[in-house]
């Protein structure tokens, strides 16, 4: 049973969350999702960030910018296909009169797009990440238009994101409005009017639904055992060397003919191995020669061995402290 007293606080939380991601509802180009600013170019997505490095250093913006100054727009692709698509980038002064609600249709209706354009970068294929540097010389309302052309179909996908330069925030107004809303809500709740309107259970259930808990994904146990030896001696920092992997199941049966992929890295540093090691030879008896191993830093490493056999896919993580 949910106490009626927590309901307004739960709703305050939801209100603040929804306020912080208001842009998601406002228009389709750039949205905030899970603290991440994302640009959606049709079904293709990229993490979207804007910086004003000269003015505010590493401070990240999702859309509105505080100053008319040098601005770096960054799209880090979440879909690899963007790496192969010619992408163009246009910034126009907002001549649509629609402000934050401008859509692609409004852009198409602009009679003289060129004269409204303050920056245009023609289509270019940029693998992995797309960056643009433009220096705003005046404050005002602008619209960004990103277009990507599908290399096979020739179809053009577009994202539109209105934004303001010289945006100093909404101040305390959203909080004052939120507070007034809550006081009124609490009054309705205490006076019993809300209960009469909807019934308490449905309010509580809706609150729970909105503020629902996430369930952590289950993890799966491995059932293969991987051991390794280093015939070239212990792994020294920054020396290319090979490993012999030995794979058997829990009953001691040596696994032959497996397809093995090796990845790895330093989880604490968020980077992978400096090389891309590969199995170069199956030696028999569950042994496989792994070449191209190199660790370039001391610290905690993990080597992840993905194994495909007749019976399924397995993943074994080998921890190493160097």
């Amino acid at each position: 049973m949910i106490s009626c007293r927590i309901v307004p606080y739960c709703l305050l939380f939801c209100f603040l969350v929804s306020f912080s991601s208001q842009d998601a509802a406002a228009h389709g180009g750039v949205v905030e999702e899970d603290d991440l600013c994302v640009i959606k170019v049709n079904y293709l997505r990229a993490q979207f960030k804007i910086y004003q490095p000269g003015a505010t250093g590493h401070e990240q913006y999702c859309e509105d910018l505080p100053l008319a100054s040098e601005s770096v727009f960054v799209m880090e692709y979440q879909h690899d296909s963007l790496s192969k698509m010619p992408i163009d980038f246009r910034i126009i002064r907002d001549v649509t009169g629609k402000g934050r609600f401008a859509r692609m249709e409004d852009i198409k209706n602009i009679a003289d797009l060129e004269s409204a354009t303050v920056y245009y970068r023609p289509p270019i294929v940029e693998p992995h990440i797309y960056t643009v540097n433009y220096e705003f010389t005046e404050e005002g309302n602008f619209i960004g238009v990103v277009s990507a052309e599908h290399p096979a179909s020739g179809k053009i996908y577009t994202a539109v994101f209105p934004f303001e330069v010289g945006f100093t925030g909404f101040g305390y107004w959203p909080f004052i409005i939120g507070l007034l809303f809550l006081i009124q809500f609490q009054y309705f709740l205490m006076s019993g009017r809300l209960k009469r309107w909807f019934g308490m259970k449905s309010v509580a259930a809706a609150s729970l639904l909105v503020c629902g808990l996430l369930i952590a994904p289950a993890s799966f146990a491995d059932s293969l055992i991987v051991t390794y030896t280093t015939p070239d001696g212990d792994p020294a920092i920054n020396r290319m060397h090979s490993w012999i992997l030995h794979i058997e199941n829990e009953d001691g049966l040596e696994i032959e003919g497996a397809i093995i992929e090796v990845e790895g890295g330093m989880p604490e540093h968020d980077h992978g191995l400096p090389t891309r090691p590969r199995i170069t030879e199956e030696l028999g008896g569950g042994d496989y020669r792994l070449e191209g191993m190199r660790f370039h830093m001391s610290g905690y490493w993990e080597v992840i061995v993905s194994i495909t056999t007749d019976t399924g896919n397995f993943e074994v993580t080998i921890p190493l402290q160097l």
Binding site: V74, H128, M240, E291, H296
Partner: protein, 373 residues
């Protein structure tokens, strides 16, 4: 009123066995023999090295007759130039890196877009913003300069006829120019610094000599360097570099977009005209393990090569575009470890005090030493 009595000492705890092992790993005497470069048959040929030295300082190897390798790689600045962006025929895309000790590195340039010193040496010659010349003009100069021609031919055999030569022969001769410059660059090594002398005194357990070499502040800085400040995660080994690529969240240069760095560099080296797998490599086996197992992937976004810290005070400004003017700025940057503009900053905030940062800076100054002749 009471007066506190007691003894306070400024002496620093002794090094543990583990710490001594780390100190030895950074010691110049631990530097292994120069690895062979099978892709360059004249890598250790002294005549080629002398030829390469002359070419390195020769400004005729440029479009305007005013730019040599030494314009940017200045001897007195540990083969750097003191500028944010190198100035040659035009302005280059990055800060001039040092070339001292780069014979030990599998990758050249900040983004590792070349895999040998000789392939690296060729790229600036034909870059319009650097020497702005081309292979035909370079070979034309060697053909016309009697001294160069005879030296070239004594090392590599007859220079091909330039007017209507097979492009492969021309490219081979051009590669030979790079191989000569590389033979010279292989001789550029750091020499023993005050830090190295101190490690020797530690290894010898000679307390008097140790006391005369590093002061308390420098020793505290060294202790931070190998410990809490995590510097040796990347700046390790006797050259104080792991020769690898890391994103450390350095801010973009005014007017530039953030540098993609290694993710673009690895794509380039895998297909570059003069790489280890090319016909111009002298290695008959062309094993090319570094290329074969080269890492790719998005965690290389914004990752630049770890520079050596030896003689660091001579290589200012710092980072790939000289964004940070002083060592103090660099240490403040790592202490903060801001989010990277692109990719992920691998470094974590250190939370060191200003006093501790000062100690680190004092230690780094002990790495000063002349470059080998």
């Amino acid at each position: 009123m009471t007066v506190a009595c007691g003894r306070w000492s400024s002496s620093i705890p002794k090094w543990t066995e583990t710490e001594i092992d780390i100190l030895k790993s950074l010691w110049l005497k631990s530097l292994p023999d120069l690895p062979p470069d099978p892709s360059n048959a004249v890598a250790d040929n002294p005549i080629a090295a002398e030829f390469g030295r002359l070419l390195f300082f020769d400004a005729r190897l440029s479009a305007n007759g005013g730019i040599s390798c030494a314009t940017c790689h200045q001897v007195e600045r540990r083969f750097t130039d003191g500028l944010q962006e190198a100035q040659a025929i035009g302005t280059t895309a990055r800060h001039t890196p040092s070339i001292v000790g780069t014979a030990y590195s599998p990758w050249q340039f900040w983004d590792g877009r070349r895999d040998s010193q000789w392939a690296q040496a060729l790229a600036p010659l034909e870059d319009p913003n650097e020497h702005g010349t081309d292979r035909a003009a370079v070979l034309g100069l060697i053909a016309e300069d009697a001294g160069y021609r005879s030296t070239y031919e004594s090392v590599f055999g007859a220079l091909p006829e330039l007017s209507n030569a097979d492009p492969v022969l021309l490219n081979t001769a051009f590669a030979n120019v790079g191989k000569s410059i590389a033979a010279f660059e292989r001789t550029l090594m750091p020499t023993s610094s005050r830090f190295d002398d101190y490690v020797e005194a530690v290894v010898d357990a000679d307390a008097d000599r140790q006391a005369g070499l590093l002061g308390d502040v420098e020793i505290r800085g060294l202790r931070l360097f190998i410990g809490e400040a995590n510097c040796t995660q990347c700046h390790n080994g006797p050259l104080f570099t792991n020769h690898e690529f890391h994103n450390t969240g350095v801010i973009s240069f005014p007017g530039d977009v953030p540098d993609k760095a290694r993710i673009a560099g690895v794509a380039e080296v895998l297909t570059s005209e003069f790489n280890c797998r090319s016909a111009y490599s002298d290695d008959p086996e062309r094993q090319c393990d570094e290329l074969k197992f080269a890492r790719t992937g998005t965690d290389l976004i914004g990752a630049q090569k770890t520079p050596s810290l030896r003689n660091i005070e001579n290589t200012a400004p710092f980072m790939h575009k000289g964004q940070l003017a002083t060592i103090t700025d660099v240490l403040a940057h790592y202490n903060e470890a801001p989010d990277a503009m692109i990719g992920h900053n691998e470094a974590e905030p250190l939370g060191l005090s200003d006093r501790e940062l000062g100690q680190l800076e004092a230690f780094l100054a002990t790495l000063a030493a002349p470059v080998s002749d």
